[in-house]
C-alpha cells in the first residue's frame, strides 16, 4: 500500500535546479518510490499530475514550494518530508571541488601570468614541442625530460638566447631559482653564491655542501649535460654565467661541469674572467690550467669547489687598463717545459691557440716557421736544432723570429723566456733588448713580456738581466703561473656578449612556475611555498599520430 504525503511551503523560492537536486536526494531515501519538489506553477502541477504525484486535495499557489513524496508506508513518507531541510542545506563536503587544472600551457599562463618558469618533464619526444611553446610564451624552461634530440636542443637554445630566456636542459635534474628548488634539489638556504651547473648531482653536491658550511645559494642554474659540448657551445652556461655576473646578490660564482669540450671550456673561462667577482671553476676531468688566474679559482673536487666558494680568500686584482683587443699572442720559448706549462695554462682562455709542441692534436701548428692566431713556439724543439745551437745559448733564431712576429700586424704581445744559469748565454738581454728596442721603434703597440728563470747566484746577474728588460718596457715574471695569469687576463678581458641578456628581475621575483609532467615536481614547488600551476598534460591529440602530425603541419603553416 503506497502512501503520498506532501508539504506546502508558502512564499519560498528555490531555483528549479536546486529542487531537482533535492528530489534526487529524496528518491535515495529508504522506502521512497517517487518524489516531486517544485514551485507550484500550473505547468509544474501538470507535470506532477502526469506522474500521479498530485493528490486532488493539494492546494498550492505558484509562489509555494510543493514537496510530494510517494512511499511504501507512512513512516517512510514522513521521514522523507522531514529530511527536506537537511537535504536543502547539505553541502557536498564529500566531493570538495578542485582548483581548475589547465590542460594546455597557454591556459596555465593565463591562470598564473606571473609565472616566468616552465618545468617540463613529459616524455622526450613531446618535450621539445612543449619547450618551444613555453619559449613562444616568453617563459624560461627547466627541461627535465631526456631523449630530446641534439638538433632540438640547439634550436631551442638559440631561440631562447635571442629572447633572453634560459633553457635549462634537456636532461637537467636540478636548479635553484631564488631559493626554490626545481626538479631534484636539496633544501638550501639563500645566500650569495651562484652556481652554473652542467652536472645535476654535481650541483646538488656543491649546493648542499655550501649549505652545510653555513652559507647559501643565490641561484643555481642548470644547463643540461650536453650544453658544454661543442655542438651546443654552452649557450645556456654562457647566459647563466652572464646573469650571475650581473646579479648584485651573487658575490661568488661556481661553475661545474662534467668534461667539457676544450673549445667550449676556453670560451667559458674567458667569459668568467670578465666577471668582477670570483669564479670557482670545476670541470671534472679537465686539467686545471692553474690554481688561480685573476678572479678564477680552479678546484680539483666538488667538495673543494664548495669550500673554496665559501672560504675563498679573494684578492681581486683586475687591472682595468689591461685589454689587448683583437690581437694575438706569440710565445717564443727556449725551454720546452716552460712552453708546455704556459700553453696548458693559456689554452683555457685563449682560442684558437697553436703550438709546435701541442697538448692536444688540434693545437698542432702546421708549419713551425709560421705562427697563426695565438701561438706558443718551443724553439728548443729538434726541428729548429738542425745545425744550430740551443736558443738558451744562441739568441739569433729567437731575435729573427721576434722580428718575423712583429711584422705581423695582428700580433699584440710577444712573450719569451730567459733561462739563466750555468751553460746558458752569459748576457742574453744584451742581445735581446736591442732587438726589442728596434721593434718598438716601429711597433709601439706591441707589448713584450718575459719569464725569467734563475737565482741571484747565477753567473748572468739575475737583477741586472731583469732591470735591462724592465728598462726596455718588458713586463717580467718569475713563474709560468704568474705569466699565464697576466696574459690570459690581458687577452680574455672585457669581451662583449653577443646575446640578449636574461632579465634579472625575473630571477629575483618570488618564484612562480608552471609544471608540465611529473606531478611530484608541482607538489614540491607548492611545499616550498612557490606559486605553481600544474598542467594536466596529455600527448597532443591523445597520442593519435595522424592527428598530431596534421596539427603540427597546421602550426608550422604561418
Amino acid at each position: 500500500m503506497t502512501v503520498i504525503k506532501w508539504n506546502v511551503r508558502a512564499g519560498t523560492y528555490y531555483d528549479s535546479v536546486v529542487l531537482m537536486q533535492l528530489q534526487r536526494g529524496l528518491l535515495e531515501l529508504d522506502g521512497v518510490i517517487d518524489a516531486g519538489v517544485v514551485m507550484a506553477t500550473p505547468a509544474n502541477k501538470d507535470l506532477l499530475a502526469t506522474n500521479n504525484l498530485l493528490p486532488d486535495t493539494v492546494s498550492a499557489n505558484p509562489d509555494d514550494l510543493l514537496i510530494v513524496v510517494k512511499a511504501d508506508d507512512d513512516s517512510s513518507a514522513e521521514n522523507a518530508i522531514n529530511q527536506v531541510d537537511e537535504l536543502l542545506t547539505r553541502r557536498k563536503s564529500s566531493s570538495v571541488s578542485e582548483d581548475f587544472r589547465p590542460r594546455s600551457l597557454s591556459a596555465a599562463v593565463k591562470q598564473l601570468p606571473e609565472a616566468h618558469w616552465v618545468l617540463i618533464s613529459v616524455p622526450g619526444r613531446y618535450a621539445a614541442g612543449v619547450a618551444r611553446e613555453a619559449l613562444d610564451l616568453g617563459k624560461h624552461v627547466f627541461l627535465y625530460s631526456d631523449n630530446v634530440s641534439l638538433e632540438d636542443e640547439i634550436a631551442l637554445k638559440k631561440t631562447a638566447r635571442e629572447k633572453g630566456l634560459l633553457v635549462m636542459g634537456p636532461d637537467c635534474g636540478t636548479a635553484i631559482i631564488n631559493g626554490v628548488g626545481l626538479g631534484f634539489a636539496n633544501r638550501v638556504r639563500r645566500g650569495d653564491i651562484g652556481v652554473v651547473g652542467a652536472s645535476g648531482t654535481g650541483t646538488q653536491a656543491v649546493t648542499a655542501q655550501i649549505h652545510n658550511l653555513g652559507t647559501g645559494i643565490s641561484h643555481a642554474i642548470g644547463t643540461g649535460g650536453r650544453d658544454l659540448k661543442s655542438d651546443v657551445g654552452a649557450i645556456t652556461a654562457h647566459q647563466a654565467l652572464d646573469a650571475l655576473k650581473r646579479d648584485d646578490e651573487t658575490k661568488v660564482i661556481v661553475l661545474i661541469s662534467k668534461p667539457p669540450s676544450p673549445d667550449v671550456a676556453t670560451s667559458l673561462i674567458s667569459a668568467a674572467q670578465n666577471a668582477d667577482k670570483p669564479v670557482v671553476v670545476y670541470f671534472i676531468g679537465y686539467p686545471p690550467p692553474a690554481r688561480k688566474i685573476g678572479n678564477l679559482h680552479f678546484a680539483i673536487s666538488l667538495s673543494e669547489a664548495a669550500e673554496t666558494a665559501v672560504n675563498g680568500n679573494w684578492e681581486l686584482v683586475i687591472d682595468k687598463k689591461l685589454p689587448i683587443t683583437n690581437y694575438y699572442l706569440r710565445g717564443l720559448f727556449s725551454g720546452g717545459t716552460l712552453a708546455y706549462e704556459t700553453l696548458l695554462g693559456l689554452q683555457a682562455s685563449l682560442t684558437p691557440i697553436y703550438s709546435n709542441a701541442p697538448i692536444t692534436n688540434y693545437q698542432l701548428l702546421d708549419d713551425p716557421l709560421h705562427s697563426r692566431a695565438h701561438t706558443i713556439i718551443d724553439l728548443g724543439d729538434e726541428f729548429f736544432m738542425v745545425g744550430r745551437l740551443h736558443p738558451m745559448i744562441d739568441n739569433d733564431l729567437r731575435i729573427r723570429r721576434m722580428k718575423q712576429e712583429a711584422a705581423d700586424p695582428e700580433v699584440g704581445m710577444i712573450l719569451f723566456d730567459v733561462v739563466l744559469g750555468e751553460g746558458s748565454h752569459l748576457n742574453p738581454t744584451g742581445e735581446l733588448v736591442p732587438a726589442i728596442r728596434a721593434i718598438q721603434a716601429s711597433r709601439k703597440d706591441i707589448e713584450f713580456a718575459a719569464m725569467v728563470i734563475g737565482t741571484d747566484d747565477d753567473p748572468q746577474n739575475l737583477q741586472s738581466q731583469i732591470s735591462a728588460l724592465e728598462e726596455a718596457g718588458v713586463k717580467v715574471f718569475r713563474t709560468a703561473t704568474e705569466t699565464v695569469e697576466y696574459v690570459s687576463l690581458k687577452f680574455g678581458a672585457n669581451k662583449q656578449n653577443q646575446f640578449t641578456p636574461v632579465n634579472l628581475e625575473q630571477l629575483k621575483q618570488p618564484l612562480a612556475a608552471i609544471n608540465v609532467g611529473l606531478e611530484s615536481f608541482y607538489e614540491s614547488l607548492i611545499s616550498q611555498g612557490a606559486q605553481a600551476v600544474h598542467v594536466e598534460w596529455k600527448p597532443p591529440a591523445g597520442g593519435n599520430e595522424k592527428m598530431a602530425a596534421l596539427l603540427a603541419r597546421m602550426k608550422s603553416k604561418k
Binding site: D15, V17, Q21, G36, E98
Partner: protein, 414 residues
C-alpha cells in the same frame, strides 16, 4: 595562409556582430527558401526514417498546424512518401530550440546583424509542459500554437514595429551579469525582454484582456527570450562563417539522432556528423536517464557564440547540473578557454573578474587537447509528445572535430 589571422578575422566578426531584434513576421514571408510544404528542423539535415521520436512528433504537429495533414496517420504517411520536404533550419538562417520545427505560416522572430547586414530567424517560445518542440501535437498544443501565431505573434510584431528594435547583444551582456548563462537559464534575460517589450505592447495593443494574457505568457515563461537569443547567436556565428582558412566552429546543432558541426573555413553545407550522445543530468519527477532522447536542438548555437555552457561561471544558480559547487561552474568555463580562440569583448563574467566568455571554438585545439565543447541542454523524452524530462550537460563526439580537421587539411592542402 595564416590560420591564426583567419581565426582572428572570424572571431572578430562573431564578436562585433550587433544582433538587433527587428520584427516578428510570417516564416514564408521572410525566411529565404521557405515554402508551404517545407518543414525546417533543428540540427544537421536528416531524412524522415532516421528522425527520433520528438522530432517526428514535432513534424507531425507542424503538419497538423499547417493543415497539410488532417491526422497523425496521414501526416506520417505523407512524410514517409516524401510528400513534404525537410531541411535544416541552419540552411535558411534559422534556428529553433529542441526539435526546432518551423513551418511556412508560423510567426518567427527576425534578427538583423546591423554590423554586417545578415539576418537570422527563430520561432516563438511556447513555454513549458506539452509543447511542439518536444514532439507534442495534441489539440491543446495546436491550440496554443494558434494563439501564439494569432495573438502573441501579432502583438509582438506590432510592438516591435513601433520600436527601433531591441539590442540583443546588450540584453545578453546584462543577463550574464544577472545569473543567466543564456542557454539553460534565461530567467533574467526573459525579464529584461519583458521589461523592454511591455511598454511597446501597451502602446500598440487595444484589447486589454488579450494584452494581459500576452504579458502573463511572456512573464511566466523564463524561456521567452531563448529564441531571440538563439537567433542573435545565429546572426553572430553566421557573420563568422566563410572566412578562408579559419578553423573556428560556426555551428553546433543536433537533430535528436546526429550531432553536427560546421567550420568557418569549410563549406556552407559541409556538416561533420556523428550519432548524438544522450545528455547526463537531473530529471523531473517520474523520469530518469532511461527516458532521455539523444541530444536535440539548435540551442547549442549559444555555446558556439560563447555563452551557455561556456559561461557557466556566471550562472551559480544552476551549478547543480555540473557537479554542485560554484567552483565547478568556474572550472567549466576555465576548461572552455582551453579550446576557444578568443575571449568575448562584450559578454563578461563578474565571478571571473569580468573576463570575457570563451569565444570561437577552434577545431585544432579541440583535437589537440581532446576537450570537446560542453553544452548545457534541456533533455527531451525519447517518445514524441512527452516533453522535457530534465536538463543537463552533453558534449559532441570528438570524432566530428577530427573529421573536420582532416577535411580542412585536404581543402587547404596542408
Amino acid at each position: 595562409m595564416d590560420i591564426d589571422n583567419a581565426n582572428t578575422t572570424a572571431v572578430n566578426r562573431m564578436m562585433e556582430a550587433r544582433p538587433i531584434l527587428k520584427s516578428v513576421a510570417t516564416a514564408k514571408d521572410v525566411i529565404p527558401g521557405m515554402k508551404d510544404n517545407l518543414f525546417l528542423h533543428a540540427g544537421p539535415p536528416i531524412e524522415w526514417g532516421r528522425m527520433s521520436g520528438p522530432l517526428k512528433g514535432a513534424i507531425i504537429g507542424a503538419m497538423l498546424f499547417e493543415g497539410v495533414a488532417a491526422s497523425e496517420a496521414e501526416a506520417t504517411k505523407m512524410a514517409e512518401r516524401g510528400e513534404v520536404e525537410f531541411d535544416a533550419c541552419h540552411h535558411h538562417g534559422a534556428v529553433g530550440p529542441m526539435a526546432g520545427v518551423t513551418s511556412a505560416s508560423m510567426k518567427v522572430y527576425v534578427v538583423e546583424n546591423v554590423e554586417h547586414g545578415n539576418k537570422s530567424f527563430s520561432n516563438l517560445n511556447e513555454g513549458y509542459g506539452k509543447v511542439l518542440r518536444y514532439g507534442a501535437y495534441s489539440e491543446e498544443v495546436l491550440k496554443k500554437l494558434h494563439w501564439m501565431n494569432d495573438v502573441l505573434g501579432v502583438a509582438l510584431a506590432d510592438a516591435l514595429a513601433a520600436s527601433n528594435g531591441i539590442d540583443l547583444r546588450a540584453l545578453m551582456s546584462e543577463a550574464l551579469h544577472m545569473g543567466d548563462e543564456g542557454h539553460n537559464r534565461n530567467k533574467a534575460g526573459s525579464l529584461l525582454y519583458l521589461k523592454l517589450i511591455a511598454p511597446l505592447i501597451a502602446k500598440t495593443m487595444k484589447d486589454n484582456a488579450a494584452m494581459s494574457e500576452v504579458l502573463q505568457f511572456l512573464g511566466d515563461n523564463a524561456l521567452s527570450v531563448l529564441n531571440p537569443v538563439m537567433a542573435a547567436c545565429k546572426a553572430m556565428t553566421d557573420a563568422a562563417h566563410g572566412v578562408e582558412g579559419s578553423t573556428i566552429v560556426t555551428t553546433m546543432a543536433r537533430n535528436g539522432t546526429d550531432f553536427g558541426i560546421r567550420v568557418s573555413g569549410l563549406g556552407e553545407r559541409q556538416w561533420f556528423t556523428a550519432p548524438a550522445e544522450i545528455p547526463v543530468g537531473l530529471f523531473f519527477s517520474g523520469y530518469s536517464q532511461a527516458d532521455a532522447n539523444p541530444d536535440i536542438g539548435d540551442s547549442a548555437i549559444t555555446e558556439t557564440a560563447g555563452i551557455g555552457g561556456f559561461a557557466m561561471a556566471t550562472a551559480p544558480a544552476i551549478v547543480t547540473f555540473i557537479g554542485g559547487t560554484p567552483k565547478d561552474a568556474m572550472n567549466a568555463t576555465l576548461e572552455m578557454y582551453e579550446i576557444t580562440f578568443a575571449e568575448s569583448k562584450f559578454f563578461t563574467m563578474p565571478s571571473l573578474d569580468f573576463r570575457g566568455t570563451p569565444t570561437g571554438i577552434d577545431i585544432r585545439k579541440v583535437v589537440e587537447l581532446g576537450i570537446t565543447p560542453r553544452i548545457n541542454t534541456g533533455i527531451a523524452h525519447k517518445n514524441a509528445g512527452v516533453g522535457q524530462v530534465g536538463a543537463g550537460l552533453v558534449r559532441p563526439p570528438l570524432a566530428i572535430f577530427e573529421e573536420a580537421l582532416v577535411a580542412f587539411a585536404e581543402k587547404y592542402q596542408l
